[in-house]
């Protein structure tokens, strides 16, 4: 009962239990944070708007994305993954979400940003429904913790519309 092995086992079990409890409390402390993020997106230019050889519409645009996500960071935050998705409806699909740009914010200092970029990923439709299409640009973010539960939320910006004709 007092051999080395039993004592080592007891110490190890206790250490693991305490560690697990600390991780749970750290994750719970994230709930106490009430974030107030803000974001703004402008479509500066539609660079081109074509129908690809497979018959799917494709758009290339230049965007100006600015946001302040500093209030999302807590001491338990490892990084915030942020991405901008174009969301729209077509006769065939009730929802289409296409990610146009994403980035990783490693710390609070980088969380207030503004970038000027063309879309990182191709804005492609299933079919050719994009002419004159009204769409939303939604900024989504995922808070990835150092340990525990991950949170996600978004800001929806409405009122964008694609050109009526290909160019």
């Amino acid at each position: 009962m007092h051999s080395f092995v039993y004592r080592a086992n007891a110490v190890l079990t206790f250490a693991v239990t305490v560690l697990a409890l600390m991780c749970a409390i750290a994750s719970f402390s994230d709930n106490l944070n009430s974030p107030s993020p803000s974001a703004d997106v402008q479509v500066l230019n539609i660079n081109w708007f074509q129908k690809s050889t497979q018959g799917n519409d494709e758009v290339s645009m230049t965007l100006n994305i600015s946001a302040n996500l500093q209030s999302l960071f807590t001491w338990n935050t490892k990084q915030v993954f942020v991405f901008l998705a174009a969301e729209y409806e077509t006769p065939q699909n009730s929802l289409n979400q296409v990610s146009l740009w994403d980035g990783i914010i490693p710390s609070k200092e980088h969380a207030k940003f503004g970038i000027h970029t063309t879309n990182k990923y191709r804005f492609t439709d299933q079919g050719s429904n994009l002419r004159g299409k009204q769409y939303n640009l939604t900024l989504h973010w995922h808070v990835m913790p150092k340990t525990g539960k991950m949170f996600a939320d978004k800001i929806v910006m409405t009122g964008f519309r694609l050109p009526e004709e290909y160019r």
């Binding site: 991780c23 991405f83 990835m144 996600a152």
Partner: protein
């Protein structure tokens, strides 16, 4: 050398009843672990409620050796979610983020494209030949929480199986030679 002699003596002097009670208690430990695992599968609704991150394709968020807790609900799959999926014909699950979603009006079926955060291109190269999209039945669960470093135990045991056999052998020896 005296220790080896003692160990051999204790093995010889075991009585049947003691052996059986040892085996039963070992069986109880293994069975309760199995009950916890299957219970977790029921609660989270996912085939494997816990996975170990094996590659660096989601760095710096998830590093090799982290473990992810999965949950699968009937909620529709949306962009940004981190999902675990199996490609037809491959048994190792992949943990990546959804970047495109196309959901059908009539059936609610969904076409999904994924990409690892640290990869340059999307996952079409990883899908089966000619497959452009994932469907709901490919997806085993959504990642909802994570613990760092804990998965290294599993990685070491899988990549160097000799350590697994050593551990089980040592455990078995411990059980047999203990006097209680």
């Amino acid at each position: 050398m005296g220790w080896v002699g003692d160990a051999v003596d204790s093995v010889k002097s075991l009585q049947i009843r003691q052996v059986i009670s040892q085996v039963v208690s070992l069986g109880m430990i293994v069975t309760s672990a199995l009950i916890i695992w299957k219970g977790l599968m029921c609660i989270t609704g996912s085939e494997s409620p816990v996975v170990v991150v094996l590659s660096g394709s989601m760095e710096p968020g998830f590093k090799r050796g982290d473990i992810l807790f999965l949950h699968m609900s009937k909620d529709p799959i949306r962009a940004g979610e981190i999902v675990v999926f199996n490609v037809d014909g491959r048994e190792i699950p992949i943990v990546h983020r959804v970047i495109k979603v196309h959901e059908r009006q009539d059936t609610g079926e969904v076409d999904v494209l994924t990409k690892g955060d640290n990869n340059f291109g999307d996952d079409r190269l990883l899908y089966a030949q000619g497959q452009l999209w994932l469907q709901r039945h490919h997806i085993m669960g959504r990642a909802v929480g994570f613990l760092p470093y804990v998965g290294w135990v599993t990685i070491i045991m899988t990549e160097k199986p000799i350590i697994k056999y050593l551990l089980i052998g040592a455990l078995g020896l411990l059980v047999i030679t203990s006097k209680e």
